[in-house]
């Protein structure tokens, strides 16, 4: 019986991959036995014993590791959602600036995008935390400090108190992602044919009306895929929170792994929680995309 070349290649690939994985996991098994730690998830229910600088839910060091990880996951979700909103606003504004008739505004947006994209996010986050937010004065005895105050203890808006770490992370991530979103928006606006601009001018709409009613709705199909990947990047970049000491899922997993020595199990939980975050963002954006397309079809009809 003759075996064709393709099948031969595939069988070889499958066998060699299987062997590789088998060898790696065999090594892992041997190492885990040698270190006498084994592979269990029992430790998740033991008290964590460390305090968190920030938690939206009730948390105390006597709570379990599992609860600590969940609080970290919620913290991650919090920073991702809030910087997602701010970076989108910033990105739209700067993206529109880059299409402005005003030369200085165009210059500003190109300098902003160029500068932000050439400096690592980690350096920017540390700049926001150590230089900007820890550099503010401690005193907040202005007469309007009841409504809004910024100090090295964070930002206070009415009864809402944002910690220093959260504010630094929020600013750093929003400014960074805003630069990338501005490029996405600019590309989307460029994809609208110039006849549309002339058309809305000829029916007597003002520039601002035209941009918001004619140009942006048409550029959405080109913008949303780019926006989705930027949001996913934002979610991934939020793990750099550990550099400023914000208790997100990665930072807490790191602490948990250091405390318990359960590297494999902790890493698996980290990966799963990230998978879940990614799925949420992807499905939300897919829903948005379908909504936009449906809306557009309705409008055309």
């Amino acid at each position: 019986m003759r075996i064709s070349k393709g099948i031969f290649v595939q069988i070889t690939l499958a066998i060699s991959l299987f062997l590789l994985i088998f060898i790696l996991f065999n090594n892992l098994y041997v190492n885990l036995i040698n270190k006498q730690i084994g592979f269990t998830f029992n430790w998740l229910l033991r008290p964590a014993g460390f305090a968190l600088s920030e938690s939206s839910l009730n948390y105390s060091p006597s709570n379990s590791y599992a609860w600590a990880l969940f609080v970290g996951w919620i913290n991650s979700l919090k920073i991702i959602l809030s910087s997602l909103i701010f970076s989108t606003l910033l990105g739209i504004i700067v993206g529109l600036f880059s299409k402005s008739k005003n030369k200085l505004l165009r210059k500003f947006s190109s300098i902003y995008v160029g500068l932000i994209r050439q400096i690592p996010l980690l350096v920017q986050l540390m700049f926001w935390y150590f230089v900007v937010f820890l550099g503010f004065n401690n005193s907040n005895n202005d007469h309007y400090s009841h409504f809004f105050s910024v100090s090295n203890k964070g930002i206070n808006i009415l009864n809402l108190n944002l910690t220093t770490e959260f504010s630094a992370l929020l600013f750093g991530l929003s400014v960074f992602t805003g630069a990338y979103i501005a490029e996405v928006i600019r590309g989307g606006i460029n994809s609208v044919p110039s006849g549309q601009w002339e058309a809305f001018k000829s029916v007597g709409l003002s520039e601002i009306q035209g941009v918001f009613y004619i140009i942006i709705p048409q550029s959405l199909p080109a913008i949303i895929p780019g926006l989705t990947s930027q949001y996913l990047n934002l979610a991934k970049n939020s793990t750099l929170a550990i550099a400023v000491g914000y208790a997100d899922i990665y930072a807490i997993s790191d602490t948990v792994i250091n405390q318990t020595g359960r590297a494999i199990e902790g890493f698996l939980i980290l990966l799963l929680s990230f998978l879940f975050l990614n799925l949420i963002i992807t499905y939300a954006m897919e829903f948005l995309n379908r909504f936009v397309i449906a809306n557009q079809n309705r409008r055309i009809r």
Binding site: V30, N102, F130
Partner: protein, 339 residues
């Protein structure tokens, strides 16, 4: 209706005054002037640059042995000369081949020099730090991740079910996780997967982690290039009697590379910036050195100076990489679109 304008564009009126524009320009200009004056005053009179000027060697070499610092310096100078010749070599095509050769030798030369070649004793690569470690991480990761990424992209296009789906799974899997978890895997978990007694140093593990991460992204960028090549190109190759290997290496890959080049340049810039993540995991590269410097009581509080200095270095190198990318685009522009 068009309240943004005083005078319409029609006719001979060249200057169209717009009150909003004038106010806006005035505002922007005054803010720009104010902040630039403030920055200049701060940087010349108030800033204390001693943290940078006293530690230039530390920023460049880290804790590399004092008497052997000529090794990484020669390597960095080699890099700068290469960049210079590559960027300012637009006319003479004769020099292209030695230039490609010199670029190919860049990483081996670096490893040979830094690890103690030409000397009496070997030097562990983990002594390397600062800018030279950043460059080492970037260049080694690139050297490995480009071939692997191209290989993955080709597998992704394969007709074989298993080959295609395994590479698709790998690419999607890698792209869904943050870089720092992959680096974490490289630093803490790889030792668990190695047989007893085998040890790999931290720099090599970091390079491995960067490679498996970046190759997925490179594969995805390359796939865009591969997909945009018309089938007629492959048919033309078949007509000329090329075999599959020749068609891929001589016809498909060069064209795909040209198309994917801008995206690949962005990946290289991203990699150079992302090496800073290793400072969280305990390697003393550019950012790691700065963090340990800022923890030194002598330089405490000079955060702004250090971060501006770091921003300048990263900005400079990213600009150089972008210029190199543009140069390669110019060189590979077979159709002559950009000339």
């Amino acid at each position: 209706m068009d309240y943004m304008k005083f005078f319409s564009k029609k006719g001979d009126v060249r200057i169209h005054f717009n009150i909003y524009d004038i106010i806006l320009n005035f505002l922007i200009l005054s803010i720009a002037t104010f902040s630039s004056v403030k920055i200049i005053v701060w940087s010349f009179f108030e800033a204390n640059w001693s943290v940078v000027s006293k530690n230039l060697a530390l920023f460049t070499f880290g804790s590399y042995p004092y008497h052997d610092r000529w090794r990484p310096s020669i390597w960095i100078i080699y890099l700068l000369i290469l960049c210079f010749f590559t960027i300012f070599n637009k006319e003479t095509k004769k020099k292209r081949r030695p230039l490609v050769f010199a670029w190919g030798l860049f990483v081996p030369t670096g490893l040979f020099l830094v690890c103690g070649g030409l000397g009496k004793y070997p030097i562990p690569i983990s002594y390397l730090g600062g800018l030279s470690l950043t460059i080492m991480l970037t260049s080694c990761s690139l050297l490995f991740s480009f071939p692997f990424g191209i290989f993955l992209a080709l597998c992704r296009q394969s007709e074989l079910f298993l080959v295609r789906n395994i590479s698709k799974l790998y690419i999607d899997f890698m792209r869904s996780f943050p870089l720092i978890t992959v680096l974490f895997f490289g630093q803490l978990l790889i030792p668990l997967f190695l047989p007893n007694g085998v040890e790999v140093n931290r720099v090599a593990r970091a390079v491995f982690a960067f490679t498996i991460f970046l190759s997925a992204y490179i594969a995805e960028d390359f796939r865009c290039g591969l997909q945009s090549i018309p089938v007629s190109q492959i048919e033309a190759g078949k007509v000329l009697g090329f075999n599959d290997f020749q068609i891929t290496s001589l016809i498909v890959l060069p064209q795909a590379f040209t198309i994917a080049l801008p995206a690949l340049t962005n990946q290289v810039i991203g990699l150079f910036q992302n090496t800073s993540l290793m400072s969280i995991l305990g390697l003393a590269e550019l950012l790691g050195i700065s963090r340990s410097l800022l923890a030194n009581p002598e330089f405490i509080g000079s955060y702004l100076e250090v971060y501006i200095w770091l921003g300048l270095i990263y900005w400079l190198f990213c600009t150089i990489i972008a210029m190199l990318g543009r140069y390669f685009e110019y060189q590979l522009d077979y159709d002559g679109n950009n000339r």
